[in-house]
């Protein structure tokens, strides 16, 4: 059976550098940081006191959702639902009336998070339960702590009747969601899918990473310099939050309805390194990473020579030089022939389960605009990345003929995802 082709027809983003595509792209192009210092983290004795938190969310939420809807969502859900609403309207679709409209049996959603219910657990469920005040939890906690909280809420907003589920694969979640949703369309099981990820702001999530000593601790007085992927002075990632949601659509039906097509999702892959050969709960097995990248190329019907740019996972940890070497090996592109590479986390930090989705939005904006956005704070490249120096986008790189770009997401648990997008004019 011929597999269907998948178009990206809409995008929504909530991020520390902007909550509309225009704001987000302007910041991307300018290399503008969304990392700030938060005194609340200092007061709680966090070693890392900087982070990427979306701003001005309340006013958007008030405009988009009624009071009951706002009361029943934690911040992770609010981010996800704003991004989903924006992706929907960006795709040129009318927002259905809630709850009166018909069920859309051919439309579904895969939207996940790394730890989407933790804020509700920490701020309400645990303290009230431990205080013997179970009754006071009310009706709104379960829908906030169930692992399917994001997709369940989004399904109700739009009346989705196809598969509605939430995946979770740590920092690969957002990218994996896009892969899973695309597969549904490619297999002819759905016509449209909302796909992406979200992560809320929660001291109960960030504290656990802080305790692991994997967060940036040395830049509390210089927040905009704290996220340093590929830098010799990188010493941990900067925690972030937000959401990215794409509207994926079967290409022919998208064209039939006259939808604008941002890009075609050519293909992708997901796998795991199995915690072997250097892989562990917290480190990637390079063989697994390389296999994932080559599988994504094969699935897309292209080879490594056709990749014009890489939007890396690149977090600002010891894993960055290993990731760059893995890209070179998997693409068959030695340093002298290496494509342009950039690290979106350098501007807005690591949004965990949302990262792959927010950064896919950035990737598609680059592809559409014919540029590679700056990778900030790596003037002092790590010695192992130095051979690739000419390929690192220290500033905005115009690339008007860019045709194909690859986006990766790698996560705790030794899990990997790679997605290949092509300019939709082909």
């Amino acid at each position: 059976m011929t597999r269907k082709r998948v178009a990206v027809t809409g995008m929504g983003v909530v991020s520390p550098i902007g909550n509309t595509l225009d704001e987000f792209e302007a910041a991307l192009q300018a290399g503008r940081s969304g990392i700030r210092k938060f005194e609340a983290l200092a007061e709680l004795n966090f070693k890392c006191q900087v982070g990427g938190i979306p701003q001005s969310i309340d006013s958007i939420a008030t405009a988009y959702f009624d009071e009951e809807e706002r009361m029943a969502m934690n911040n992770c859900m609010t981010y996800a639902c704003i991004a989903a609403m924006d992706a929907w309207t960006d795709a040129g679709l009318e927002l259905p009336e809630r709850p009166a409209s018909e069920v859309l049996w051919d439309t579904g959603a895969v939207v996940g998070s790394g730890a989407g219910g933790v804020e509700t657990l920490g701020s309400r469920v645990v303290p009230l339960t431990d205080a013997g005040q179970v009754k006071r939890l009310g009706s709104m906690c379960v829908e906030q702590i169930m692992s399917s909280n994001l997709s369940a809420k989004i399904g109700g907003l739009f009346g989705l009747g196809n598969q509605v589920t939430s995946n979770s694969s740590a920092c690969a979640t957002g990218a994996e969601a896009i892969y899973m949703a695309a597969e549904r369309i490619r297999n002819g099981q759905a016509e449209r899918m909302l796909a992406g990820g979200a992560e809320g702001v929660s001291r109960y999530i960030w504290s656990a990473f802080d305790a692991m000593r994997v967060l940036a601790r040395k830049f509390n007085d210089r927040p905009s310099e704290a996220s340093r992927p590929m830098s010799a002075s990188a010493a941990g990632f900067v925690p972030g939050a937000g959401a990215g949601v794409l509207m994926l659509e079967e290409l022919e039906s998208a064209r039939e309805r006259g939808a604008r097509v941002y890009a075609e999702l050519l293909g992708g892959a997901v796998n795991s390194g199995g915690h072997r050969n250097g892989g562990s709960m917290t480190a990637p097995n390079s063989s697994g990473v390389q296999r994932c990248i080559t599988a994504a190329l094969t699935d897309s019907g292209i080879d490594g020579s056709q990749i014009d740019a890489i939007s890396g996972h690149l977090t600002g940890t010891f894993a960055d030089p290993v990731e760059v070497a893995n890209w070179a090996q998997a693409l068959g592109r030695p340093p002298e022939d290496f494509p342009l590479i950039t690290a979106p986390k350098s501007m807005f930090g690591h949004a965990l389960g949302a990262a792959g989705a927010i950064e896919t939005v950035a990737t598609i904006l680059m592809l559409r605009g014919g540029y590679v956005h700056p990778s900030c704070n790596c003037e002092d490249l790590h010695p192992e990345v130095e051979p690739y120096a000419d390929s690192v986008a220290h500033e905005l790189k115009e690339l008007p003929d860019m045709q194909t770009v690859i986006k990766s997401g790698f996560g705790f648990g030794d899990v990997n995802c790679a997605l290949v997008f092509r300019n939709s004019s082909n």
């Binding site: 009951e68 709850p99 009754k135 009706s139």
Partner: protein, 82 residues
Amino acid sequence: MDRDKIYERVVELVRPLSKNRTAVENISEDTSILEDLQVNSARLVDLILAFEDEFNIEVDDDAADSVKTIGDAVDMLAKQLG
């Protein structure tokens, strides 16, 4: 407490949970909380918690189950408040 005052507070507390704005605008003691206001049935427990907070009382399950309309809520609360 004055019954009219209880009624006013009940209306304010049910308003944010209501999905039918027209029914909210035309609210009366006969208005059904689930059918007319289209409050999600799961949210009735939140409404009872809101009553408890507002009037500093405790509502037992039987009393909570008796509330179908705005008037039922006012009756239940008036009884509790003596």
